[in-house]
């Protein structure tokens, strides 16, 4: 399996990376916190760590630490617009239920 970016998400990430002027890719992860147990981490990556699991999707390098990977496997990162709001969305098949706002989730 793998973690992928939608084409639209990749385009936005690439754009942000150019404007930011540095970084090698995107780091995804999960950590325990929030109202439903787990929360996503979505950050720019400046360095790759030795045990990172790497993917490449539409030209964007995605780095995931091995502990987070089982919770994210099969996820597609999408970019969406809801009214005036816009941003990234994790389409994660592992999620059983999420809190009302979706910022944290359970597997």
């Amino acid at each position: 399996m793998a973690v992928t970016l939608s084409e639209r998400a990749a385009r936005h990430v690439a754009n942000y990376m150019v404007k930011r002027g540095k970084g090698i890719g995107l780091r995804l992860g999960v950590r325990t916190s929030g109202c439903s147990g787990m929360a996503y981490k979505l950050e720019f990556a400046d360095i790759a760590r030795p045990d990172d699991i790497e993917f490449e999707s539409h030209g964007v390098k995605v780095l995931i630490d091995p502990k987070s990977f089982p919770y994210l496997d099969g996820t597609e990162l999408d970019y969406a617009r809801e009214g005036l709001n816009e941003g990234f969305r994790f389409n994660n098949p592992n999620v059983k239920d999420a809190c009302g706002c979706g910022e944290s989730f359970n597997v």
Partner: protein, 633 residues
Amino acid sequence: MALLQIAEPGESSAPHQHRLAVGIDLGTTNSLVATVRSGLAVVLSDELGRPLLPSVVRYMPDGQTEVGYDAQTRQALDPRNTIVSVKRFMGRGLADISNREGMPYRFDDAPGMLRLHTVAGLKSPVEVSAEILRNLRLRAEASLGGALLGAVITVPAYFDDAQRQATKDAARLAGLPVLRLLNEPTAAAIAYGLDNAAEGVYAVYDLGGGTFDISILRLSRGIFEVLATGGDSALGGDDFDHRIFCWILETAGLKPLSVEDARVLLTRAREAKEYLTFHGVAPISARLDSGEIVDLTLSTEIFSEITQTLVAKTMQPVKKALRDAGLSVADVKGVVMVGGATRMPQVQRAVGDFFRQDPLNNLDPDKVVAIGAAKQANLLAGNGAAGDDWLLLDVIPLSLGIETMGGLVEKIIPRNATIPTARAQEFTTFRDGQTALAVHVVQGERELVGDCRSLARFELRGIPPMVAGAARVRVTFQVDADGLLAVTAREKTSGVEASIVVKPSYGLSDDEIAEMLKDSLQHVRDDALQRALREAQIDAERLLEAVRAALVGDGELLSADERARIDADIGKLQAATRGDNRRQIVLAMDDLEADTKDFAARRMDKSIRRAFAGRRISELDSDTTIAHTGEAT
């Protein structure tokens, strides 16, 4: 499902703990709101994708309001209840508004700040601005998906305390916590300077719809300092539209127009102006109500020619600001262009020619201030990446000081001092037994109180009776990061204290500031002479006061002859003091001092005898005159 933004490495926030912060450019003509999203500062658009919000508020009979484009389109139909350019009224009294005959509003002269009569009742400029800010807050909350931690709101660098306070009040009324007020040119410099990490002296040339501002900034080691500001509060892109409008009338040979036709042609003029930014010629065609058809072509050359004087007019304040900062063109490392009107090629060219370099224009000039404010807001909200913790210094637009004896101004914080700042100076009493001190806070560059703006007055009471000059009153001026002033006076031996937070009832208009600065430059020599005269007069009065008190107390120590001579000297000195010849005053003082020398010695002997006898000197009448100790602390 919530939509996420990309964070800096290690900076992911916990769920439900996003620190949403925005930057707001609250403009005279248009306002914008921006935020930093996934590390990138972006302007937030409305539902129709429009980034600008016209700074127009229309009040309706049911108390509802329309803000922005809706209000703007109805402006012509309902001019009295449609408030445009409210920024010009912020923190202003009726007397501060110069051309109000030309405005459709019904003003009310409320104490402190004027009010506007609308169909929905009496409205203050603060309330009108709050409507604009509320609209931007709702837009930001809808765009960011949550309540805002706060906003950085930009103001012109020359905004005084009253105008800054009014802006803060408007934000509070709009339910918007203010993280900080930020000077507009500083925000523009942040938008450029930090992205490009360039240090040095920069000029910020801001030609908006109806106002022109020039600021000279210094960026060094992450610190911004405003060295000088200047401008013209009645010059902007609208004037260029008007020149084209006049050219159309003249070229097409049109008779006086109906209001409707004039509006159509003004719109065509603006469109032509914008078209010429990217094209060599602009077609102008319109069918008027009068049946006449306008079909003209405006070339870049003609446009440049008919607007040449306008462009030249912006260069005068530029030269003056440079002079104010003590710099020459060669010192300026970069020029930042702000405001939609700077898109015009002839403006770019003129600025480039003057500074002998291409101006920085790779950011959208309409958005650059909001973008800088958003970056600052992001930082203040604690969202910045490590190493981004730069300082930000703004300056005081006009010197702050207090009135001392004889209507002179003692400057405590000089113009262009960086804020936040606190400075103190020591003063003392003028008369024996004086138990109170009146502190009069003024703002301006001139030496005499009458030529400066009065900001506030308060009294320090309960000073224990002492001989003149013995009290030690420390007056502290503190200006916070938003440019608001707090003044404290404290008598050191007794510890009595009084203070005031300056929320001045009146502020200074941009024109007044410009005028006062001009005045101070022109009057430097006059003022120095005036000051010397005043100081001599004060010294004379002090001497007269002392001699009179001595004569009352110890007059019997003098022979009739001596007394007559002293009385004559007093008469001469009084006469000289009323005149404006400083030398005469000084000479008369010398005479009086010489003739009272023996008298003083005799009094001294007497008071020593009296001191040994354990008698007390009765308290003299107290007044509140403040004297200058001549020492800064």
